[in-house]
Amino acid sequence: LLLLLLLKSNISSVVVSARTYADFTPQATFDIKKCDLHKLEEGPPLQAVLSREEGLQYYRTMQTMRRMELKADQLYKQKIIRGFCHLYDGQEACAVGIEAGINLSDHLITAYRAHGYTLTRGGTVREIMAELTGRRGGIAKGKGGSMHMYTKHFYGGNGIVGAQVPLGAGVALACKYLGKNELCVCLYGDGAANQGQIFETYNMASLWKLPCIFICENNKYGMGTSVERAAASTDYYKRGDFIPGLRVDGMDVLCVREATKLAAEHCRSGKGPILMELQTYRYHGHSMSDPGVSYRTRDEIQEVRSKSDPISMLKDRMLSNNMASVEELKEIDVEVRKEIEDAAQFATTDPEPPLDDLCNHIFYNDPPMEVRGTNPWTKLKSVS
């Protein structure tokens, strides 16, 4: 009996050590939902190829985003984060899928639900969280807060609903002007989609054939107003009228990626702008001051969580195709949790910005100047 036990343990250890990464499927093809098209001949392919590396990377990034937002929720309830805080959990497939379809050398601008994009565009969890808690180690040195985070080729983080859309087209104009074959992804929500300046932008982007991918993240609610109550036409992918559009399953990272690739190709070939509507969902309310259940039911939220969660969808796909093991994904979860904990620790212990910094960054590339304080005797210093 002892021998059998010994043998068994030996065999199991042999089995474990022999199970290398070569056992996993290196890549697999998945069916993705067909996109509704507007003034487009062809949509994205109905199948997407996912490699193991890609899958693990998307999983890690989405999970990092998810846990980061949930940690922000926690810190907000502890009053360590204050002011506005608009969380992105539920919409991870959008940010990750979009980034997978473009390059870091491309440009992106969004509205205030921006933490996820700050991450995909090169920000670290540490500096994002420290910005939320208003510390000097924050990505904007504590001076911007939740809605005003910037990285290279990422223009925020914009607080005024809809204002980022003309800005994005302006970035696209610069891309075309400078001739570097870059494009600009310009995001807005279903609430912003009714803004006049967006239609002004559609017009100019189309006239001048700007390389601009307009993306409407339709999470069904503009703050507390459902799309049916806000828009005479909820076919946001058609609202560009003369701009070709497609409606995409925003909960499926592969669907988003393939659509983005198609859109990017369209722009880079000089055809002008294109519009994508991503159908997605936010688990949290509009912001931390909105419980999110007065205008929708908990059942609805729960249904989306159980049937359409973007992270679960990817996880199921990978596991059922033997592209990763449960342990491996659990290990990623543990690493992510640690990263978030470390970041939160930093964000809560890093000191606030020094008072000397109060008046800095008014002008760029200017000699130091004096700024009036709260009274005539207080003269504060400002450097560029």
Binding site: K143, G144, G156, L178, D366
Partner: protein
């Protein structure tokens, strides 16, 4: 001669005069002055800056094929083409936002508002997207943009087209606000504004566009710049300081000429820049003259004069005032249309003279 110059300066007639001067008592060097209108000065400044830096471009309504609603951009589209001189649809909020975005991504746009009245439609982009961004991003994202166009009252264009926005834009940190008077001002300040890496609101004046000014060779040079934030003393005087900007400088100089005949010597300070305000220049002058009258075309409440007076109160020059400082402003009403009403809605030379005499108690 003086009266001819006064006549020309107040913009009632557009005559290009060519003058040549010689300095007596010094080695005979004929310093060549040419007469240049404010319009041409702006045009040349833009032309030179477009040539100097490929990233500079102009956009706005009618700026390209129409040569500019007020012909300020005449000839530029022909020279630089569609890529750099862009006609926009009548969508201020949209194209101002596009201009700001282009500036964020590395270009140096000049965004023209046909008049600053229309900038109200786009004011969110000027303030929230342009002015505040460098601060909100703690220095990560700069916005090198110029918003320019005619500001203030014109002639007979009535209430919706006559507002002065100097105080509105002058209120906001993160913006530089400039208000040229002469052709030299227009040239030097526009070049500085275009070369500045920050958002600059450049307030022109439609009635000044056709007014010619003498321009020396030095001013004509391609790198002639006027620093933003420094006022200029247009006329020296000992008895009272007049501070003004834009077209009202012409009226101040005309009033000063009349007062000089009565032995009252006015020091006329041309602000040139609204924000940052050159308070020091004003204070230095008051310490000499002991009296202050500000003159502006805009409304009185919370206006340019109000700010200047507040600063003087709070600063070292207060103790040098022999009388309360006062403001001469536009009348606190929307601009009427009928000529007689319009004429009485903005400061006239007699109003400046009256206020000076009241302040001096003569």
């Amino acid at each position: 001669m003086a009266s001819l110059r006064c006549f020309l300066r107040s913009g009632k007639n557009a005559v290009t005069a060519v003058l040549r001067r010689e300095f007596h008592g010094t080695p005979p060097a004929a310093v060549q002055y040419i007469g240049v209108t404010v319009r041409d000065a702006l045009n040349q400044a833009m032309d030179e800056e477009l040539e100097r830096d490929e990233r500079v471009f102009l956009l706005g309504e009618e700026v390209a094929q129409y040569d500019g609603a007020y012909k300020v951009s005449r000839g530029l589209w022909k020279k630089y083409g569609d890529k750099r001189i862009i006609d926009t649809p009548i969508t201020e909020m949209g194209f101002a936002g596009i201009a700001v975005g282009a500036a964020m991504a590395g270009l140096r746009p000049i965004c023209e508002f046909m008049t600053f009245n229309f900038s109200m439609q786009a004011i969110d982009q000027v303030i929230n997207s342009a002015a505040k961004t460098y601060y909100m991003s703690a220095g990560l994202q700069s916005v090198p943009i110029v918003f320019r166009g005619p500001n203030g009252s014109s002639a007979g264009v009535a209430a919706q087209h006559s507002q002065c926005f100097a105080a509105w834009y002058g209120h906001c940190p993160g913006l530089k606000v400039v208000s040229p008077w002469s052709a030299e001002d227009a040239r030097g300040l526009l070049k500085s504004a275009i070369r500045d890496d920050n958002p600059v609101v450049f307030l022109e004046n439609e009635l000044m566009y056709g007014v010619p000014f003498e321009m020396s060779e030095e001013v004509q040079s391609k790198d002639f710049l006027i620093p933003i934030g420094k006022a200029k003393i247009e006329r020296q005087g000992n008895h009272i300081t007049l501070v003004s900007h834009s077209r009202m400088i012409s009226l101040c100089l005309d009033a000063a000429a009349v007062l000089a005949k009565e032995g009252i010597e006015c020091e006329v300070i041309n602000m040139r820049t609204i924000r940052p305000l050159d308070a020091e220049a004003i204070e230095t002058s008051i310490m000499k003259t002991n009296h202050l009258v500000t003159v502006e075309g805009g409304w009185p409440q919370f206006g340019i004069g109000a700010e200047i007076l507040a600063r003087i109160m709070e600063g070292p020059a207060f103790n040098y005032l022999d009388a309360p400082a006062v403001r001469v402003t536009g009348v606190d009403i929307p601009m009427p249309y009928a000529k007689n009403l319009e004429d009485n809605s903005i400061p006239q030379i007699k109003d400046i003279i009256f206020s000076v005499k009241k302040t001096l108690n003569v």
